[in-house]
Symmetry: C2
Subunit: 380 residues, 2 copies
């Protein structure tokens, strides 16, 4: 049977949730008085308003976020043979400097241990060779980049680690921050894949202010804010020359690149017409390598785009289907109708888009569903 | 010969520039002391900083913005047979209420007169039947919506008008503002095409602050801010039910929909998973019609996306190539190298993308380059 590999699937490890429970400021976990109510995770300052009752702030965090058996049941339900699990946002960016290294090591070790334990058990049950791998987190608030680099190197020694997950803020100033160069260097040197994932979305003003943003629940921040955040982050990386200085860096972009495949042509055109860049007689160093080149060389895209239109753009931008990897975004976007205990709509939408876009080339379908991940991440 | 129709091409009429010259606050035109220097158009408050010398604020406005003969020369250079000209941003949103109606009528009449005059002259020169049409502007700051509706109706009586152009702020509160309903009703009733075009981009914070935004010249605001603004605006329209209440409204989206074709699937998925919406047991009325339906029914897209990846997504989202229309965005994105007096790179990139994406179907290429515009806008 061909492997089906989910490379976009999140967990909060139990220790991570305990750490968030001990906090009183964003991000934190609040346990309602009602023991039957789900804990609440408050990760955005806009969710931490005194105007919102504490039991309704943020989002519910049920066992699907931290119980690996729920993940395994989800995988079985959807025929997923292998998952590369990663911490969900907000990762570890908020940790006090002196705690960052210890917490990161602990959480990464927990992830590694979970993979090892599950794989050993699952092998006995199913005879399949491997079930779980992980992307580690980084101690980005640590007092020196060398601590981050050390963790990148240490992760290479853990048998189930296949890369790291990072948000778009970097060290706090975005991914075009020159202070990140030692970290890019470590990622490139160790050929560690970076899974770049959004967290903050866009400022409410982009949606017409806080009231307009919240008018439609989470649709605007999630449907638009997240992918636009990714697009902005990677464009800033490109414009600042990260891909010129680190030409062998490997980055997996969440949500099929946000909107990068669609906007790549416009970005390339705007760069070519920008008078500020030295190449055009200006005063600012512009990027040497172009967007299309970077997309085909450094970038991998998940196939979490929920439709053929986006997938077609992603495949074209990536120079073919070889750089696209199936994902689910579990445990987010569960079915609202609890009776729906078959396939999740959010998952089947992506399955269908892959099949329809690549059909009748079943080799291509299998590649996106799992073969590419096995090859690129050296799985199984 | 098949027509090549440019539906995205801007002008500032001479009267409009004179009005901007008389203003001292944004938007305004500043004439440098040096008579050989181009006038400067200051349309964003961030460009109106005392820290920037007046002669360097905003952007230069040369004759290509207002001299119709420059437009005609550009058309001849690129084989464009027909252009549907429209006022460039900031349109007329900023006018004092008591001035709005008079200025709008004057500017729309000027556009109509320019079309009539050019067409009459060009027919004598080339024997071709028609060269120019126009999208009118609306007096959105007028004291009552009926003034706007009256202008929409009046525009239908002007022989060269083929729709109206509008920014994303509407009456100042975005396009999900219920106060716009009488205007949507007029547009629907008269079957007037709305050309929706970005102007404000995103807040600087989205790009990491003012310094980060300006670090790369205009690349971030133009390459990302503009298309994201359009995407947000039309998504807010959708979420607020504009397409439910006005199911026959017709909208042409600039820049191939910003990023709407790419994100349509994610938007649809986020709506389906949004607990706040009544359909999902929530408390807020969500949209009835879906994104894909609206894209195939109400939306037209220009083909100004500078690459095959975006164009493939646009064609798929629009349900085929029948709703895509060639455009240039002239006079923006001129060649930086003045010696380049052949085709503009910004134009040839879009020509090439259309040809490569649709080849070998030459009928489809001709449809996007002109046939669709002739049919949809009733030209020639």
């Amino acid at each position: 049977m061909s492997p089906i590999v989910d490379i976009h699937t999140h967990v909060y490890t139990p220790a991570y949730l305990d750490m968030l429970r001990a906090r009183k400021k964003v991000p934190y976990v609040h346990d309602p008085a009602d023991p039957n109510a789900d804990s609440r995770l408050i990760i955005l300052s806009s969710d931490d308003s005194a105007a919102i009752p504490a039991d309704q702030r943020g989002r519910p965090v049920d066992s699907s976020y931290s119980d690996i058996n729920v993940k395994l049941a989800f995988m079985r339900r959807h025929g997923i043979t292998t998952s590369v699990i990663s911490l969900a946002n907000p990762w570890l960016d908020f940790l006090d400097a002196h705690e960052a290294q210890a917490w990161t090591e602990r959480i990464n070790n927990d992830l590694e241990e979970t993979c090892a334990k599950v794989n050993s058990t699952e092998t006995q049950v199913s005879g399949a060779s491997k079930t779980l791998y992980a992307f580690g987190a980084l101690p980005l608030s640590a007092p020196s980049p060398s601590i981050v680099s050390d963790e990148i190197k240490r992760l290479k020694t853990l048998p189930h680690m296949r890369g790291i997950i990072m948000g778009t803020s970097g060290l706090g100033a975005g991914l075009d921050d020159p202070a990140l160069d030692p970290i890019w260097a470590s990622l490139e040197e160790t050929q560690t894949l970076l899974f770049l994932h959004p967290h903050y979305g866009l400022p409410d003003e982009a949606f017409g202010g806080a009231e307009a943003t919240q008018r439609y629940g989470h649709v605007l921040p999630l449907a638009l804010g997240f992918p636009l955040e990714t697009t902005i982050a990677v464009t800033r990386m490109l414009l600042s020359g990260v891909f010129d200085r680190f030409p062998k860096i490997k980055i997996l972009l969440a949500h099929s690149g946000g909107t990068l495949p669609f906007l790549a042509g416009r970005i390339e055109s705007c760069i070519a017409h920008e008078r500020h860049f030295v190449a055009n007689g200006g005063t600012t160093q512009g990027p040497v390598r172009g967007v299309w080149d970077v997309l085909k060389t450094n970038i991998y895209l998940d196939a979490v785009v929920y439709g053929e239109a986006g997938l077609k753009a992603a495949i074209h931008a990536a120079g073919g289907h070889d750089r696209l990897l199936f994902g689910t975004d579990h445990p987010f976007f569960p079915p609202l109708d609890e009776k729906e205990d078959n396939a999740w709509l959010s998952v089947s939408t992506n399955f269908t888009a892959i099949e329809k876009t690549l059909s009748p080339d079943q080799d291509a379908v299998r590649a996106v569903l799992g073969g590419n991940a096995v090859r690129i991440l050296n799985l199984i």
